[in-house]
Amino acid sequence: MYETNYHRASSVDEAARLMGDAGEGKYLAGGMTLIATMKQRLAAPSDLIDLRHIGSMKGITVNGRNVTIGAGTSHYDVASSDALKAVCPALCHLASHIGDPHVRHMGTIGGSVANDDPAADYPSAVLALNMTVRTNKREIAADDFFVGMFETALEEGEIIVSFSFEAPDKAAYQKFPNPASRYAMAGVFVAKKGSDVRVAVTGAGSNGVFRHQGMEAALKAAWAPDALAAVTVDAGMMMADIHGNSDYRANLVKVMAKRAVAAAG
């Protein structure tokens, strides 16, 4: 690892100030991607601004059907929240399948979403649950947040503070993990609220997480796995690598979507 300078922030404002003073700074959430990347010398921030000790960024609030999750909340805390499980068990299920138990104890929802790895699980939930991403500067709608692989609407120095959404009537997430890395080769989050249906796909798209309008329309017409039978997933939009070509991934997306609808009930 290259040399770096560590700073611990105790508030969001302090973190933003520290970042302003840093040269090539990076915010450090759980560090489960960033530290691993720095170890490989694939990242070399001059300064690390640690967000892990900012109390106001942690915790889950459920008020009726309205959910707010602090960006600093760990995957483990999302997975094991009884309050969240009562209104949106699909999100707990998703969090419980990220990485491994040790990674889930450190990794955070804010860190994962800000990093926007094309094979990460959380971005699909943010899109499908139509979350509002609150930062230290503004609120960003999920549909405006994800720009491309590892690229979001976040500006220089902007910090995600929390996520909020209204719990859906039905939702589920199903992924096909790469047998070695366990990252999603295709992960599909489906959510139904009233007559609205949102379907978000991660792991497969060549431009990162995306919504699939064709599947959304089919599921609006009939909420059933078979409703997806006639929908075409365009292989031209899919990633291709040694683990699977784009036709294979396009097929996986459809299979995962069907399984998700079946799991949502």
Partner: protein, 162 residues
């Protein structure tokens, strides 16, 4: 150099290190506690698992400065004197190790797993929970057996105490 202060196995310790020093290196080199191992460069193997503030973490993917102020338990801190922790005893009894390199991480993972699941552990859950720990000798069979045996033992001991 930055001063790092930790409580390790119940003892307050401090030392100086670079900001880029990994917690596992601080534990091994500054504190001389070499039971915590480094088995890979990629956060995959779990040989470095310790407990930080009561939760299992990979000490190879946390900076020592990030951990400063926290309460750490390493493999050296779980037995009581000469009496092995029930998980250590179960690994010994069930031949849950061969070369032993992954064992400290496996044991610390198992202690955390049993804490979280209590008496609810079954073989499938144990195998899923071992996602972050790699063993190249045993084929995992006897590790799973050891953890289930320890969970039974500890569950039984808790019931007896109630």
């Amino acid at each position: 150099m930055t001063k790092v202060t930790l409580t390790v196995n119940g003892r307050k310790v401090s030392g100086e290190c670079e900001d880029r020093t990994l917690l596992v290196n601080f534990i091994r080199e500054n504190l001389g506690l070499t039971g915590t191992h480094v088995g890979c460069d990629t956060t995959q193997c779990g040989a470095c698992v310790i407990h930080m503030d009561g939760r299992s973490v990979k000490s190879c993917t946390i900076l020592a400065v990030q951990a400063s102020g926290s309460d750490i338990t390493t493999i050296e801190g779980i037995s009581s004197g000469d009496t092995l922790h029930p998980v250590q005893a179960a690994f010994k009894e069930n031949h849950g190790l061969q070369c032993g390199f992954c064992t400290p991480g496996m044991v610390m993972t198992a202690v955390d797993m049993i804490r979280r699941h209590g008496g609810q552990l079954d073989e499938q859950t144990v195998r899923q929970e071992l996602e972050g720990n790699i063993c190249r000798c045993t084929g995992y069979h006897n590790i799973v057996k050891s953890i289930l045996s320890a969970a039974d033992e500890m569950g039984g001991a808790q019931q007896a105490a109630e």
